[in-house]
Symmetry: C2
Subunit: 190 residues, 2 copies
Amino acid sequence: MELLKKKIRDVGRVIGDDILKVDSFLNHQIDVEFIDKVGKEFYERFKDDKITKVLTVETSGISVAFATARYFKVPVVFAKKTESRNIDDDVFESQVYSFTKSKEYKVRISKMHLNEDDVVLIVDDFLASGSATNSMIDIASQAGAKIAGFGIVIEKVFQEGGNKLRESGYKIESLAMIEKFEDGQVVFYK
Amino acid sequence: MELLKKKIRDVGRVIGDDILKVDSFLNHQIDVEFIDKVGKEFYERFKDDKITKVLTVETSGISVAFATARYFKVPVVFAKKTESRNIDDDVFESQVYSFTKSKEYKVRISKMHLNEDDVVLIVDDFLASGSATNSMIDIASQAGAKIAGFGIVIEKVFQEGGNKLRESGYKIESLAMIEKFEDGQVVFYK
């Protein structure tokens, strides 16, 4: 998605060897008009896949999931990271290691909101090592739901999570693929 | 908003004396079409207030904020709860006590994304004791931003947060106001 690459070039900031800050439009301030276009793009790429739900993990994926699900006219379900009185005890649960926060945490989806009739599109802001996406695969599998594929805004190709998913046969649509960071600049994969 | 009251009556679940679970459409599974209507309603109620940004606290407010901001054609900024490498060090910070999680935490907004030219609409899924909304007032005040008002999906009137804000002169638009829970049922304020 050329518009996204331009946005990353214009306002993304590379920190060190591995961090790309896109907090001005994606995961802190949200450029709503732009994220709506991201949602439309995912819709175009998965519209024939009979999606019944858009899945993500809180927090940064929620706005992208919402924008995407609006085009599909289906609900979002987002996995919760923390124990909360707002969620039932009867949950599907999995483990994630967060690269940006350097810690492990559990994610949960209530059994009420995912089942074997669902065909899910899993979306997220970033795909790097793939730990968050793997937790979603785990949870979808526990629920017996079918995974149509993954809609990723920014894939860090050098961290291999995406390639492992492709090798497992999943359909991955990444709107921007980053090969590496060089001299504080983003080098796109293609 | 009658549609919201109907939704709460139909699928909300009262737990004990103080918890209303609306995880089937608001804060775990998201009924996107419905939340879009919530966003439109907030737009109607604040459209003359020259809003430049919609503010919320992660996580449950994000989808409502996104839906609202789409009608206003302005960005969302959501306050972050946790330390993250995705946020700058240079932040406005405040303290929140979470009723549903029974703990204190800090919320932060990068100084890059809020300033004295902003007129903000603060939205959230629930308003109870008002701790989260007070943290947003604190942060907006640190930034010198003007607060146009609050768009609240569900206000628990018996917890006084909303009334304290009204006494302070703020415009509060709550789409459903709950007076109390009685025999496992919701009693609306009006």
